[in-house]
Structures are given as structure tokens and as C-alpha cells.
């Protein structure tokens, strides 16, 4: 089943929409769903032109396609457990919160908190991601716990904060403090970043671009060879964050960091 949701023109397009109901599972029982526009509850067809093609008997046969002005729509795919969501343009904050399985593809940019505290499944963002991509929410001790999150562009600050499991791959650069408070899992940054992995206690972070302002609380170890897109790359290995008796590994491409 393919469900296409195309946004209708809105008088006030800046008012955010809270759309945690948009997950494949919910469309098995039809399209009679509601979302909030600001503080007003709206039915799905007040916001979108809806077309449904084909049948489905289980949620993994459902594909939801979002088109149009989707940059203000929040919480799409929250608690998603199967199926597929494709966002043709940009997507608002909190896309893929707590998702446990399935696949989300964002062809444009994603706003903050993409895939926060996700537990499984896969998110691919073809544009840039905002701050706190793959992070834990305020006060939470554990962020992303499983699954795979890939961003083909850049990511903002606090990428993968409190990462506990799973894999985060950023093809571009990231902002400040990626992997801060990391506890497990794997973080790969192909571009540059500043101050990675502050207070990390576990897990592995690889940076193939430049690292600015590497924190002084990391202990240098021997060099290792890592395969990166078919090339053998020499990496400096760091152990830390020793300020808090951390046991994480930070690998940075040799000779490339100030």
C-alpha cells in the first residue's frame, strides 16, 4: 500500500504541525487520523491531499510518502515499528523519535532531533540534519540505542549525544560536541568537527576529516589502519574521556588535526 500525503496550502504556513500519528502502522485502519496544528486538532485530510493505492495486510507493506511543504511537520514516524516513510522535501523536528524498525528516507533537510532515542530501523537523510541528531532528549541518560542513522550532508551541534548503541554516519561536517556523553555504539564523521566525544564513557567514534580543539582529556595510543571507502587510512587512536574514567575510543585521521 502506498499512501501519499501532499500538503494543502495553509493560511499560516509557519504554524508547526504535530504529526506523531503518521506512522505506517496507523494507515492499516484507514486515513482517519488527526494531527495538531498549533493548539488545534485537525483531521489528516484538512492538512493533506491523501491518496491511497493498493492493499496491505501488515504494516511492513505500507509506504507513506510526504510531499509539499513538510518542513514544519514534527514527530513524523514517532514510535514507528515497521514499513517505510519517504519525505520528498524537508522534515520538521523529532522525525523518527523512538522508532524501533522500518525505514525513513528524507530527501531534503531534517530539522533538530532527527532519530532521537531511536532503538532500531534505519533513517537516511539526503540533505543536512539539524542539532541533536540521534541524541537523547533533555535529562535522558540514554540516547539512540540501536539502528542506523545516515546523513549525506552535514549535521549540527550535539550530534549523537548520549549514543548508546547502533550506528550514526555523517558524510559531511558536524558542529560542536558530536558524540558528547557517548556510552556505546559507533559514530562515523567523514568531514570535520570540533571537540568530539566530551565525557564519553564507551563506544567508538571515527573522524576522517579535521578535528578542531580536540579535548585535552583524551589519552593518545598507538596508530591503527582503518579501511575507508576502499583506502587504507592511518588513524591516531585516543582513549577517553579520562576526566571521567571513560573507556571509549576516538580515532582521528593522522596528521589532519590541529
Amino acid at each position: 500500500m502506498r499512501v501519499t500525503l501532499e500538503t494543502k496550502p495553509r493560511k499560516k504556513p509557519n504554524i508547526p504541525i504535530e504529526a506523531e500519528s503518521i506512522i505506517p502502522h496507523n494507515f492499516l485502519r484507514g486515513t482517519d487520523l488527526s494531527v495538531y496544528e498549533g493548539n488545534k486538532q485537525r483531521s489528516l485530510d484538512e492538512i493533506f491531499f491523501i491518496t491511497v493505492e493498493g492493499p496491505a495486510v501488515s504494516p511492513d507493506q505500507v509506504e507513506v510518502i510526504l510531499k509539499g511543504d513538510t518542513g514544519r511537520i514534527k514527530r513524523v514516524g514517532e514510535y514507528m515499528n515497521a514499513g517505510k516513510i519517504v519525505v520528498e522535501g524537508d522534515i520538521g523536528m523529532h522525525c523518527g523519535n523512538f522508532m524501533s524498525a522500518g525505514q525513513i528516507t528524507v530527501r531534503g533537510n531534517a530539522d533538530a532531533w532527527l532519530g532521537r532515542e531511536m532503538r532500531g530501523g534505519e533513517i537516511v537523510c539526503h540533505g543536512n540534519a539539524g542539532h541533536y541528531c540521534g541524541a537523547g532528549y533533555r535529562g535522558e541518560k540514554r540516547g539512540m540505542r540501536g539502528g542506523r542513522l545516515e546523513v549525506l550532508g552535514n549535521a549540527g551541534d550535539f550530534l549523537a549525544e548520549y549514543l548508546c548503541g547502533g550506528e550514526v554516519i555523517i558524510h559531511g561536517d558536524t558542529g560542536d560536541l558530536p558524540g558528547v556523553e557517548m556510552r556505546g555504539g559507533k559514530l562515523v564523521i567523514e568531514g570535520s568537527c570540533t571537540r568530539p566525544c566530551g565525557n564519553m564513557s564507551g563506544g567508538t567514534c571515527l573522524v576522517f576529516g579535521q578535528v578542531h580543539d580536540l579535548l585535552p582529556t583524551f589519552e593518545k595510543r598507538e596508530r591503527t589502519q582503518v579501511d575507508f571507502r576502499g583506502m587504507n587510512v592511518t588513524m591516531d587512536t585516543y582513549h577517553g574521556d579520562v576526566a571521567n574514567r571513560g573507556k571509549g575510543s576516538l580515532l582521528v585521521r593522522s596528521g589532519d588535526h590541529a
Partner: protein
């Protein structure tokens, strides 16, 4: 004139010796009266359990440290959200809810009076502001004197009258209710990076011991004729083997008051540990309770822990630091100038942890072994042991051996060898529960004469009607009904007005704050004392004239004036 008549109420009112009589209660203008006219509004209690409004004699619901617990735990604030509903405010939070959240949840459980467990006098304004936003309960505040410089100087000079004068001035200034000592001496030692490990250790610089502070304050308390006794959180909280400190402390207490206890020991569960480390911790509730049973001038509260997530908060800064060293989670510590300190950390009590299981058992053992329920009151030291919404579960555990056995089967198997709980068969009855949740508190806090905690004509019309027919249910088998009944009242009546019905809060209340003002002679009025004023000039960040909380902060203050022997 508003009149209300509660018909067919099955009343348990231990202070007046009523145990399960079916009777009518008449209320006029917020007070209980002999009878009312025929035009009075009528509530049919339908032979359900009717008790005086609940009183919590030790809870942390208002003030700076509670608020800091809220800042620190945004994840807690995302739990338990309720939306605005008529006059009801939005609420959120589980272990440290918003003030309205606290108030509404207490109200639906039938509680109408609360004692905030610890208020730093310097930060009293904040506490009083939050009191006015806790609309369904009358509030009181324990005022911290554990590390007060002026008090410790008076103790060093063995001048009880001077200590009493300091208490009198600060209590009136902070609009507090009673003297609270939290790890006396220890919080000040913590300012020097140290702690005290027994009641005979000395505090740096001041050269006084916790024992001297406690004893002086008990005597000062009686000189001032305060309604409540000294409210003590003993030294060495949460340390394996600390029961010795607790026993030493209890042996210090002189019997000075015929109407009530001379010392109130709070959350005693945290102070009844044997063993030497976390590995061999065991329960010493039997030793502790033997002394309590033999000392009618001591009242304790349980400080029961319940399994699950909560937040610990106390003025005991060093203890919170030790907890941080165990958990390595987020924590906070705070120093209050010349007075005290505080600390907060979130915790999770787990049935898989033998330490937590022993703690859980000790709380229940204290209540089950205390011969006199007037001496052991029901609390969780909310939210330190558990959020107060767990009270109904605790009541059910105390009333049902079968429920306890069912829960014990889920504990870490090593627990059984370390605690006597499994061998205790006692099941408390309805009257004992009524004593442990309202009547005992009223007497211990000395607010019986204000009309709290009983239902005789003249008393405040604070009434809780629970959907329980005591003659029809067997609490030892039907503990689920007991739990459900105590979680939601049919009616909670605050000062003659129905504030909650069937678990729903229906009106915005208007509470009052009870505070104490001891009247002392001119000679002992520290307002005129140059030595005391110098403290403010030299050390405090606040000037003496700006220090007292103005009465505008207590829009409905009720002042108890006492005639001090000074």
C-alpha cells in the same frame, strides 16, 4: 453561612476514640458542629470509611531544593502530564511534580495538611511562594538549624537560652513551624570538605558535636514551648552500620514534654542499617524499635522506600555526594551561607538490588514492630523513598501478610537471610492506619488544638471519605481494594468544601500556612542584639532588615504565638 451534612459516615477518629461508628457529621463555615439546619447540603457517605483529612508529617513538596529537582529532571517532568481542566491547572512530573500536581494528587488521596520537611531560612520566601500555589493543603515548614553558625556558637558556650533566642528570631523571620536538624553538624563540616561519622565527632572550627547540638536544641525547643518537637534527621543517613548512631541519638533524648514527644526522628528506615559495607548490609529494625517501644517520648516516621524511579533530595549535602559516588549520575550540591546545605540526585530502587530490598523491608518492619502506632507514622519521606502516590500500596502492605509474601517472593533471594520481615505476621487494622496517617501526625506536630486530625465539634472540617466499607472487606485478602480505595477518595472535604470527588479535583482551593512566633522578653529579642546583627553585616549576603519574610508572602497565614520561658 455554608452548611454541609455528611450522612451515614463510618467514622474512625482515633483522637476521639471513635472506631467505626456509623454517624452523621455536621459542618458549618469550615468547622465541625453539633448539628446543622435542614437546608444544609447533604452528602451520603453510604457507610464508607470516613477519616479526618490526612496529614503528612514529613514530605518535600515546596522550596528551592524541590524546585532544583524539577530543573534537574526534565525527563521526570515529561511523565504524569495532565491537561488543564476547568479550574484545574496543567500538571506534570512524577517524583517531583509541579506544585499543583502535588496538591491535586494529595487531595485525591484525602490529604489536607502537609509539613514541608526542610526549609532553609535564607530561602524561605521561595518556599512560601510555592505554598500559596499548593492550594488544597494547609502547609507548615520545618526550618533548618543543623549548621546555623549562631546556634553552634551558643552550643559551644553551653547557652541554651541564647540558642533558643536564635531559634525564636529565625523561626519568626522565616515564618517556619518547627526546628529541623538534618545531619546536625555534618552539613557544616561538609562546607570544610568533611562529614561527621558519629554523634561525638566535632564540627571543624565550631568545636561542637552533633550530640551537643541535638540536646541543646531539644531543650531550646521546650523553652520556646513550640507546638512540635525537634524534628531530627540523624547523622550517617544511608551508611551501613548506622543503627549504632541512631541508638546513641535516641539514648540522648530527655523526656521534657507531657503532651507530646520530645524528639521526632524522621525517615528512620534510612537509619537502621547493620553491616559494614553495601555487601553485608542487613536490617537492624529490631534493635531500633526495641528502644522506640521503651521510649514514649520518641516518635518516628517510616521513610519507606518503594521500588521504582524517584528523586532523592535533602539538606544533607555530604550524603548526596556519597550517593553520587555510587551512581555516577547527575547530581547537585548546594551551600546555604551560614545555615545548611542541600543535595539532589535521581535514583532507581530495584528489586534486583539486595541493598534496596533490605531497605524496603526495614521500613515495613519498623511499622509492624512498633507496639504503639502513635509512635510510628507512615511516610516515604516523599520523594526520597518513593513519591507519595505510593502511600496506598504501603497501607495495603501493612494490612496484608499475604500481599507482603507475594511481594517478598519477587525480591532478591539473598534478602530473606538479612531481614526479619518474613517472620512478622502482624497485620494492622483500620484504626491503626488512621493513627499512622492523620491522628498520630496531628498529635506529634502539636496541631490537635488547631482542630487538625480529628472530627469532634470545633475541629477544622477536613474530611476524607474513601470508597471502602470496612465491615465488608477483608484487607488481608482484598488488598487490591484497599489500595484502590486509598488512592481515590469519594470526597475530600477541605475546610467544609468538597475539593475532590471520585479522584477528580473540582475546585481551586485556598490554603493557609501555619507558622510559629515565640514571644520572648526584650533581653532575648535578637532584633536588638549587636552581636547577631554583626553576622549579617559580615557574612550574610542579605541585610538583616531584608531577611525576614514579609507577611504578604503568606496571604492566609495562621500564626501560633507561644509564650517562651525567656
Amino acid at each position: 453561612m455554608s452548611e454541609l451534612l455528611i450522612k451515614n459516615a463510618c467514622v474512625i477518629d482515633p483522637l476521639n476514640g471513635i472506631n467505626g461508628d456509623v454517624m452523621d457529621i455536621a459542618i458549618r463555615d469550615g468547622r465541625i458542629v453539633e448539628d446543622v439546619g435542614s437546608s444544609a447540603e447533604v452528602i451520603d457517605a453510604d457507610r464508607c470509611l470516613t477519616l479526618p483529612g490526612g496529614i503528612d508529617s514529613h514530605t518535600h513538596v515546596c522550596g528551592t531544593k524541590v524546585n532544583f529537582g524539577r530543573y534537574m529532571s526534565p525527563e521526570d517532568m515529561r511523565a504524569g502530564r495532565t491537561s488543564r481542566n476547568g479550574s484545574m491547572h496543567v500538571t506534570s512530573g512524577y517524583s517531583v511534580p509541579t506544585t499543583f500536581g502535588n496538591s491535586y494528587r494529595y487531595s485525591t488521596m484525602g490529604y489536607t495538611t502537609l509539613l514541608e520537611g526542610a526549609m532553609a531560612p535564607l530561602e524561605a520566601r521561595h518556599t512560601h511562594e510555592e505554598f500559596t500555589a499548593t492550594p488544597h493543603q494547609d502547609m507548615m515548614a520545618n526550618t533548618l538549624f543543623d549548621g546555623n553558625w549562631s546556634v553552634m556558637e551558643a552550643v559551644r558556650e553551653k547557652d541554651v537560652k541564647r540558642a533558643a533566642a536564635v531559634v525564636a528570631w529565625i523561626l519568626s523571620a522565616a515564618k517556619g513551624f518547627a526546628i529541623k536538624l538534618t545531619n546536625p553538624g555534618g552539613t557544616e563540616a561538609w562546607g570544610w570538605g568533611e562529614d561527621v561519622s558519629s554523634i561525638h565527632d566535632t564540627v571543624p572550627y565550631f568545636e561542637v558535636t552533633p550530640a551537643e547540638i541535638i540536646e541543646t536544641m531539644i531543650r531550646a525547643n521546650e523553652l520556646l514551648r513550640l507546638p512540635h518537637s525537634v524534628h531530627l534527621h540523624c547523622n550517617n543517613l544511608g551508611v551501613p552500620g548506622n543503627y549504632r548512631t541512631t541508638l546513641d541519638t535516641m539514648n540522648l533524648v530527655p523526656d521534657l514534654n507531657s503532651r507530646r514527644q520530645s524528639l521526632y526522628l524522621t525517615h528512620l528506615q534510612f537509619h537502621s542499617y547493620g553491616g559494614t559495607t553495601w555487601r553485608d548490609i542487613d536490617s537492624r529494625s529490631e534493635e531500633i524499635i526495641r528502644v522506640v517501644n521503651a521510649s514514649p517520648h520518641i516518635v518516628i516516621d517510616m521513610g519507606q522506600i518503594m521500588f521504582g524511579r524517584t528523586t532523592t533530595m535533602t539538606a544533607d549535602g555530604p550524603m548526596e555526594f556519597k550517593l553520587y559516588m555510587l551512581h555516577h549520575n547527575k547530581w547537585s550540591n548546594h551551600d546555604v551561607e551560614l545555615e545548611t546545605g542541600s543535595g539532589i540526585i535521581p535514583v532507581y530502587y530495584s528489586k534486583k538490588s539486595v541493598v534496596n530490598c533490605v531497605m524496603w523491608a526495614i521500613g515495613l518492619e519498623l511499622a509492624l514492630q512498633a507496639k504503639n502506632p502513635w509512635q510510628c507514622l507512615l511516610t516515604t519521606d516523599n520523594p526520597n523513598g518513593a513519591p507519595f502516590v505510593k502511600y496506598p500500596e504501603i497501607i495495603a502492605l501493612l494490612m496484608s501478610k499475604r500481599y507482603r509474601d507475594q511481594e517478598c517472593a519477587l525480591l532478591d533471594p539473598r534478602t530473606e537471610k538479612r531481614v526479619p520481615l518474613m517472620a512478622i505476621d502482624r497485620e494492622l487494622d483500620w484504626n491503626e492506619i488512621a493513627i499512622m496517617t492523620r491522628a498520630g501526625q496531628s498529635r506529634a506536630l502539636g496541631i490537635e488544638s488547631l482542630g487538625k486530625g480529628h472530627l469532634a465539634p470545633g475541629a477544622e472540617a477536613d474530611v476524607a471519605i474513601y470508597p471502602i466499607r470496612t465491615t465488608e472487606i477483608d484487607p488481608s485478602a482484598q488488598f487490591q481494594q484497599v489500595m484502590a480505595g486509598f488512592s481515590r477518595t469519594m470526597y475530600t472535604i477541605k475546610r467544609g468544601r468538597v475539593v475532590a470527588r471520585n479522584g477528580e479535583v473540582i475546585v481551586e482551593g485556598a490554603n493557609s500556612t501555619i507558622w510559629v512566633k515565640p514571644r520572648v522578653s526584650h533581653e532575648y529579642d535578637l532584633g536588638n542584639d549587636p552581636e547577631f546583627a554583626k553576622k549579617f553585616q559580615q557574612y550574610y549576603t542579605v541585610r538583616m532588615r531584608n531577611y525576614p519574610v514579609q507577611e504578604t508572602y503568606l496571604p492566609r497565614g495562621v500564626c501560633i504565638e507561644t509564650e517562651a520561658d525567656l
